[in-house]
């Protein structure tokens, strides 16, 4: 899989988790704007990332989530449990998509509808906002036509209108559906034509070009330029369901029937119509509908069928079919016939009485209603409990107080008086009867749920106990509630199929495991002591033997465990290597150089910390090499080398170290230039310029503040030279060596430990205390006769293999007022350690064994004690302080 995608998928887990957590927190603090911002940012970033890949289903949902969270952040949409549920649902879906991508590298096209449904369910909440702010013209809201001029109804053929008119007198209103597909809809898998043709109970439809068609040569046939107009006799809910995937692109307007009654046609036959009008009027005034129809039919035969007059007469006939409409609509049409235009049905259109009115005035949210129903039910149960003589009045009062609270919360103060009455009665009787009766009669009365009831109406107690959620759904009438709650996304992984193959674990958990195992290794080391005690103190040799045997077993298991946990932390070097192909390509192109990169041993593994610390130094080395090492192609050819340079980066494991070679075949390092530079910068003395060997000279590039570049380029040589590399590598107990041959290239070798978990230390003794010294910093241990220690000025020194080594008392460095002890041969123990590039001899009392320890850094109050690298727990329970040699010398 492409690493970018892999990265995205791995990050997506974090995003999903973060979003989930934030949503949960928001549940408790729904007004926390910081939390909302954080949530928005998460969704926003996630969506942005998803846009890098071709997963429209994924991006679509995230986009909707982003829009929604933006609205929440802007306080345009209120945070609600429902909103959180929908978001979580959407995120589950996204998680499922990510899993599917991880498994198959693609998204099953069948989920497109889920994607659309979920994004729509999210946009629905935003849509409400748009409605309130009057922003989104195409939100699927309930609209009823009040002004015929708003829709191009006269463009609909008369036959279709007549059909629509007749249908509209039936059960459901006829709806005008305007579908404006997104220009990019074809890429989202939409088929607008098919969608419009499949509109339920379609009466009529047409397509119109949105913009004038571009010349054929310039026409982008992948952009949708069509608008769809439809008349459909289906119920609104049916239409909404049909267009649910493109809800934002559809407008559905209910059209009262009379709006269809628009005479159309040429004005040619007006005279004939005027002649017939008086008798038509007379018939209408008499209420003779049959006569009116007969007269209209007769007149119709005399006029041209395509004329306005004929059309008006036909409509007269149609309207007369409907006796209920007769008085007004017929009269209006007759008046319009006199004018030769019209009729303006808007005057007939009553203001929309209830359409689209949401139940916003209800004081309770669905959740609160749920809670209230439950509460009321409990109160009834309480009242039905066996009577308790002592506190029955108190109980009744408490129940009454509870119910009063509910009434107030539900805004039903009207019922308050009857509650008080019932309470008084119950109290007087010290029987709950009256209150129970009130409860059953008033609050739990099975009312027919009015569509726009402002008050929650409780079903009977039986229904409550079986479905406490019932009033909640009834309380959001007129909206598209069934769709919003439709089908939750089921995640296949929930069923345990195809679980994740890799596990992302918090580093802290691994570290804890590491520490625990470390402690186990240490406590296991107590067993040999115990064995010794069994033998010496308790005199049981056999027990000692058994303990030792058991120790061997535990020891092996502990070591395997340690090894296993190390493995968990292991990462391949390819983690850092993967950035180099791009880096080398871009950089060399920028410099006009031709460099081929060869990567080897990418699957070599090392501890995560080591791998991570490798990144920056490697980049630095590679940039250096490209910048200063490789020559321009012409120069290379002139020198008889292939024009294309080769940069080799090779990783390999050698014993317990990872070795990384970075080798180029460039111009190499000129020791003379290095020496000159070092001298100019005051890094070396004048006399040593000639004495230094070439290899020694080259090592100078690691000296702090050394940079050989004549010009500071924008790529490397920003004042941080190879010394930065060296420091970074040494920080993880690694080492850097460099070899270079002028004209032939440079080779840099990084050697790093495989793992940092276990530190190998030597135990030394000074002033009766034991200390640990990391083996890495120890050069040698020697015993020097006291007589061989000479003072040069005030410094104690000795000569080891022809080299003067300065000596220091460890006790002095640790502010212990004691001298190092001499052994029976009159010798002092000298621990020779490496201090940067210098050697230093530490005078101590004695050397002991070397051990593997788990080093715990100094923390808290002791954290500033630089002289100690940390501490470790020893097998006998004692604490070993481990010295940090580099920090020992002030």
């Amino acid at each position: 899989m492409n690493p970018l995608l892999e990265q995205f998928l791995s990050e997506s887990k974090d995003f999903l988790q973060g979003i989930g957590e934030k949503l949960m927190q928001l549940e408790d603090a729904p007004n926390d704007s910081e939390l909302m911002d954080a949530l928005f940012r998460l969704v926003h970033t996630f969506k942005g990332n998803s846009g890098l890949f071709e997963f429209p289903e994924l991006t679509r949902v995230l986009h909707a989530a982003e829009t929604l969270m933006d609205a929440v952040r802007e306080r345009e949409v209120h945070y609600s449990r429902d909103l959180a549920d929908r978001l979580l649902d959407a995120m589950d879906f996204v998680g499922m998509l990510c899993d599917s991508i991880a498994d198959t590298g693609a998204i099953d096209p069948s989920v497109a509808s889920d994607s659309a449904r979920l994004s729509e369910s999210l946009m629905e909440l935003v849509g409400d906002r748009g409605e309130a702010a009057g922003e989104t013209p195409f939100a699927v809201r309930e609209e009823v036509l009040t002004d015929g001029a708003l829709l191009p109804l006269s463009e609909v053929p008369e036959a279709a209108r007549i059909e629509a008119y007749r249908l509209s007198r039936g059960e459901s209103a006829v709806h005008w559906v305007e579908y404006v597909p997104e220009a990019e809809c074809f890429f989202q898998g939409d088929d607008p034509l098919f969608q419009s043709r499949k509109t339920p109970k379609l009466v009529w439809s047409r397509m119109v070009a949105r913009e004038a068609w571009a010349p054929l040569a310039e026409l982008d046939c992948y952009r949708c330029n069509l608008n769809f107009h439809m008349l459909a006799a289906a119920a609104r809910a049916e239409l909404v369901a049909h267009f649910r995937f493109v809800a934002d692109q559809v407008r559905i307007v209910a059209v009262p029937g009379y709006f269809f009654a628009l005479p159309t046609g040429s004005a040619s036959e007006h005279a004939a119509l005027e002649a017939a009008l008086p008798s038509l009027r007379a018939l209408f005034d008499d209420g003779d509908v049959a006569g009116l129809r007969a007269k209209a039919k007769a007149t119709l035969e005399a006029v041209a069928a395509n004329s306005w007059a004929a059309s008006a007469l036909r409509w007269l006939d149609v309207l007369a079919e409907d006796t209920a409409e007769r008085p007004k609509s017929l009269g209006m049409l007759l008046m319009a016939m006199a004018d030769g235009k019209g009729p303006d049905w808007s005057t007939l259109a009553a203001p929309p009485d209830d359409a689209g009115v949401t139940d916003s005035s209800s004081p309770l949210s669905p959740e609160e209603l749920d809670a209230m129903v439950a509460l009321v039910r409990v109160q009834r149960d309480i009242l039905s409990l066996p009577r308790e003589a002592g506190w029955q009045p108190g109980r009744i009062k408490a129940v009454a107080a509870t119910l009063a609270g509910c009434l107030r919360a539900a805004g039903r103060t009207d019922a308050m008086a009857s509650l008080d009455e019932a309470t008084e009665k119950s109290l007087a009787e010290t029987q709950s009867g009256a209150l129970v009766a009130w409860l059953d009669g008033t609050l739990l009365e099975p009312k027919p749920a009015r569509r726009h009831s402002l008050h929650p109406s409780f079903p009977s107690s039986e229904t409550i106990s079986s479905s406490p959620a019932a009033p909640a759904t009834g309380a959001s009438p007129g909206s598209d509630a069934p769709m919003a709650t439709e089908g939750r996304t089921a995640r296949p992984s929930d069923e345990g199929q195809g679980g994740p193959k890799s596990l992302k674990v918090d580093q802290a958990k691994i570290d804890r495991l590491m520490n625990l195992i470390g402690e186990m290794v240490v406590s296991k080391n107590a067993l040999p002591y115990l064995a010794a005690r069994a033998e010496t103190v308790f005199g049981s040799r056999d027990l000692s033997k058994e303990i030792k045997a058991q120790y061997a077993v535990i020891n092996r298991i502990a070591e395997e465990m340690q090894d296993a946990i190390m493995q968990v932390r292991m990462m391949p070097v390819s983690f850092v290597f993967q950035r180099f192909p791009r880096l080398v390509r871009d950089t060399s192109r920028k410099l006009g150089k031709d460099v081929q990169l060869v990567l080897e041993g990418e699957d070599t593994e090392a501890d995560k910390l080591i791998i991570e610390s490798l990144g920056d130094p490697l980049v630095h080395i590679v940039r250096n090499s490209l910048d200063h090492g490789f020559e321009l192609p012409e120069v290379r050819q002139a020198a008889g080398k292939p024009a294309t340079g080769t940069l080799l980066i090779r990783a390999a494991q050698e014993a317990d170290r990872v070795v990384i070679d970075i080798r180029d075949d460039g111009r190499g390092i000129d020791p003379e230039i290095v020496k000159r530079k070092a001298y100019e910068k005051g890094l070396i003395e004048e006399d040593s310029v000639d004495r230094l060997s070439d290899q020694e000279a080259i090592q100078l590039i690691f000296a702090p503040g050394f940079s050989t570049a004549e010009v500071v380029s924008d790529l490397s040589g920003r004042g941080v030279g190879m010394d930065a590399v060296k420091t970074a590598i040494e920080r993880v107990n690694g080492s850097v060596t460099i070899e270079s041959k002028k004209g032939h290239g440079t080779s840099i070798r990084l050697s790093l430990p495989l793992s940092m978990a276990v530190t190998n230390v030597m135990i030394i003794e000074s002033a009766g205390q034991r200390f640990g010294v990391p083996l890495d910093s120890i050069v040698e241990t020697v015993r020097v006769p006291r007589t061989s220690i000479k003072a040069i000025k005030r410094e104690q020194t000795t000569v080891l293999r022809g080299r003067i080594v300065p000596l220091r008392q460890l006790n002095t460095l640790l502010a212990i007022a004691e001298d190092a002890q001499v052994n029976e041969h009159g010798e002092l123990a000298v621990l020779v350690v490496r201090l940067g590039d210098e050697l230093l001899g530490l005078l101590i009392d004695d050397f002991h064994e070397t051990v593997d320890i788990i080093l715990k850094p100094m923390t808290g109050v002791l954290g500033h004690l630089g002289a100690y690298a940390g501490s470790a727990l020893m097998g006998d329970g004692s604490i070993l302080m481990v010295l940090n040699v580099n920090e020992l010398i002030p």
Partner: protein
């Protein structure tokens, strides 16, 4: 001003409930056992009680029984317990509770109920 009394012997629980309720704007007082709760209620009755079951001296059931027997304005009581058993709920209701929550109380649920019982704080 809606006054709510939290009756619980565990300081952590009291603080938890107090934080939830105070964040919503209610005035909260605390009692560490039933006896103290009775004393406080006698001094000035509360609008709502949030009561733990297990407490020293006088437990939640006892407190509610005593409370309901007092001749003071009675207010709803929410009982909070770790027991999810329905028999415990019935016992709580019998003792005089009006609602029952299982610990840890979900802030949203508690606040919804409190809002229903005593109205919004602000």
């Amino acid at each position: 001003m809606k006054r709510i009394l939290i009756v619980d012997d565990a300081a952590t629980v009291r603080m938890y409930h107090r934080n939830i309720l105070e964040a919503a704007g209610y005035t909260v007082e605390e009692a560490v056992n039933g006896i103290e709760a009775i004393e406080k209620s006698l001094h000035q009755p509360f609008d709502l009680y949030v009561v733990d079951i297990n407490m020293p001296k006088l437990d939640g059931y006892g407190f509610l029984r005593e409370l309901r027997a007092l001749d003071i304005p009675q207010a709803p009581a929410i009982m909070v317990s770790t027991e999810a058993d329905s028999s415990d709920q019935v016992r709580a209701y019998a003792a005089g509770a009006n609602a029952y929550h299982i610990k840890p109380v979900k802030p949203g649920q508690l606040l919804t109920q409190v809002k229903l019982l005593v109205g919004a704080a602000r």
